[in-house]
C-alpha cells in the first residue's frame, strides 16, 4: 500500500474538550498506515463566530490553515466538522478570483487554493484496505449521528447523502457493530447554542436521544466534538428535566475503531465521557 500523508488540523475543540477524538483519530490513522502531520502553530478557524462578525475574517482564518497546508504541500484533513465546514466554505468562496486575492491580501501571502480538503471520516470511509480488526465489536447496537456539517450544504461540504448518510454506518458496521436505522441522523443538536441558549439545546437533544433509544441503540456514534458535547454533557440535565432515563454513551467512531483494533478503553480515553460507556462495553465483553 502506498504511504499517504496528510496535513493534520485538529482544531481548538480537539485540543481541549474533545481530546479523546484527537487521540483516537491519531491512533486509528497510524494503525492504518496513514500519516497525519500536524500543522505547526495552527490557529483557530473562526468557527461560526468569525463569519458572523466580519465576512472576510470568516474566510481569512480558515484561509491561514489552508495556506499552511499548501506550504506543507499535503492534502489537508481535519476530524472536526465545524473546522471542515469552515475550511471548505473558504475554499469554495475563494474559487472566486477576487475573493482569493482579497484573502491573500489579509494573509499577506499568496494563497493558491488548489489543495484537497477532506475530513478524516471520509478518508477512513474510502479506505479500502484491511481495517486491522483484532476484536470485532459484536453484540453492540448503535445508531450513527452525523449532525449538520458533514452533509450540508450540498455543493460545498457534503460528501454523503444529505438525509440518509452512510459513511459512519458503513465503517462501524465493518467493526461488527449492528447499526440501526433511525430518523435523526442529520437533525441539528443546537450546536454552540448550548452556551448562550441551553434551553433550545435541551429540547433538540432530548428528541435525538429519545429517537436513539426508541431505535434500540445501546449508544450513539458520532464524528463531531460539538455533537458529542451536546449529547453527552447535557444528557443528565435532560434526563432530569424530562424525567426519562437514557444512559446513552456518546462515542466517537474512531474510539470504536480503536477498540476493535485492540487499543484499550483507557488509551482511547473512553473514560473521559460524562455518560460513562465503560459499563456498557464491559457488559458486552468489549472493554
Amino acid at each position: 500500500m502506498t504511504h499517504q500523508a496528510y496535513a493534520y488540523y485538529p482544531g481548538c475543540s480537539l485540543s481541549s474538550t474533545a481530546r479523546e477524538y484527537d487521540v483516537s483519530t491519531r491512533k486509528v490513522f497510524e494503525a492504518l498506515g496513514l500519516e497525519l502531520r500536524e500543522l505547526e502553530d495552527w490557529s483557530c478557524c473562526g468557527a461560526s463566530a468569525a463569519k458572523g462578525i466580519n465576512h472576510l475574517l470568516g474566510l481569512a482564518l480558515p484561509g491561514r490553515v489552508i495556506q499552511q497546508a499548501e506550504e506543507a504541500n499535503l492534502p489537508l484533513t481535519t476530524p472536526c466538522p465545524e473546522c471542515y465546514s469552515r475550511l471548505r466554505f473558504a475554499a469554495y468562496e475563494m474559487k472566486d478570483e477576487a475573493t482569493r486575492k482579497q484573502v491573500s491580501q489579509v494573509l499577506e501571502t499568496e494563497i493558491k487554493n488548489t489543495g484537497a480538503i477532506e475530513p478524516t471520516l471520509k478518508i477512513i470511509w474510502q479506505y479500502d484496505g484491511d481495517l486491522r480488526i483484532k476484536k470485532p465489536l459484536t453484540g453492540l447496537k448503535a445508531v450513527a449521528y452525523y449532525g449538520c456539517l458533514f452533509v450540508r450544504p450540498k455543493d460545498v461540504a457534503a460528501f454523503d447523502d444529505q438525509e440518509d448518510p452512510r459513511s459512519m454506518d458503513d465503517i462501524v458496521t465493518r467493526l461488527g457493530v449492528e447499526m440501526l436505522d433511525w430518523g435523526f441522523k442529520t437533525e441539528c443538536c443546537g450546536a454552540y447554542l448550548s452556551v448562550p441558549k441551553p434551553e433550545i439545546v435541551y429540547r433538540l437533544v432530548y428528541r435525538i436521544l429519545k429517537g436513539a433509544k426508541q431505535a434500540g441503540a445501546d449508544c450513539v456514534v458520532v464524528a463531531c466534538p460539538l455533537c458529542q458535547a451536546n449529547l453527552d454533557t447535557r444528557q443528565k440535565a435532560i434526563e432530569e428535566r424530562y424525567r426519562v432515563h437514557f444512559d446513552l454513551p456518546i462515542i466517537y467512531f474512531t474510539q470504536l475503531m480503536g477498540l476493535a483494533m485492540g487499543f484499550s478503553a483507557q488509551e482511547l480515553l473512553l473514560d473521559k465521557h460524562l455518560t460513562d460507556p465503560l459499563p456498557l462495553l464491559r457488559g458486552k465483553g468489549l472493554a
Binding site: 481548538c12 475543540s13 485540543s15 481541549s16 474538550t17 481530546r19 505547526e40 502553530d41 495552527w42 490557529s43 483557530c44 473562526g46 468557527a47 461560526s48 463566530a49 468569525a50 463569519k51 458572523g52 462578525i53 466580519n54 465576512h55 472576510l56 475574517l57 481569512a60 482564518l61 491561514r64 482579497q102 491580501q105 489579509v106 494573509l107 499577506e108 449538520c148 456539517l149 452533509v151 450540508r152 450544504p153 450540498k154 444529505q162 438525509e163 442529520t186 437533525e187 441539528c188 443538536c189 443546537g190 450546536a191 454552540y192 447554542l193 452556551v195 448562550p196 441558549k197 441551553p198 434551553e199 433550545i200 429540547r203 454533557t233 440535565a237 473514560d271 473521559k272 465521557h273 460524562l274
Partner: protein, 188 residues
Amino acid sequence: MGGNSTVTPVAQSKFLSEVERESGQRIMDCYQCGKCTAGCPSAASADVTPRQVMRGIQLGLAEEMLDNSMIWLCVSCQICTARCPCEIDIAKVMESLRLMATRQGRAKERDIALFHRLFLKSAEAGGRVWELGLGGFYNMSSGHLLANVGLLPSMLAKGKLEVLPHHNKKAKAAVKRIIERASLLEGK
C-alpha cells in the same frame, strides 16, 4: 410578525435588493411554504420564523428583519437550505442579515452576539480558543453568572476542560494580525 402594527409593504424595496446582493439569493423565489421553518431547530424559540423572515424581506420590512431573534438563534445548520423546494439558501440569508445587523450595531440576541465576540476574543488572545475561559468569560460578561456552572465540576474531573489556556505564540500573533487586517480590508 410584531403582531400589533399595520404593515405597509414596499415592493422591490432597497432592503430586498441589499439582502439579495449580500446573500446572492433570490428572495422573491420564496413562495412561503414553510418547509424551512418546519425543520428549523431554532424556529420554535424565536420571535419570527425563517419563513416570516423571508416574507419580511419580500415586504421590505428592514427594521423588523434586522431586529429579530431568529437571525441570531440560527445556528447555520442548513437544514432549511437542504430542503427548500425553491432552492433558496436560507441559512445564507440569515448569515447576511446577521452581518448587516452587526454592521449597524444591532443585535436582538445580545447573548449570542456576545458569545460570538468572546469566541473571537479567545481566539485572538491565544491563537486558539480556550473553551473553559470562553465559558467563564461568557458567564461574567452576559450576567448569567451561574449558567453552565453545574457542568463544570464533572467536566473538570473528566479532564474535559483544560484549566490553563493552551496558547501558541505564533498562532496568536498570526490571528491578531489577521483580525486587524480583515477589519481594515472588509468592504473594500
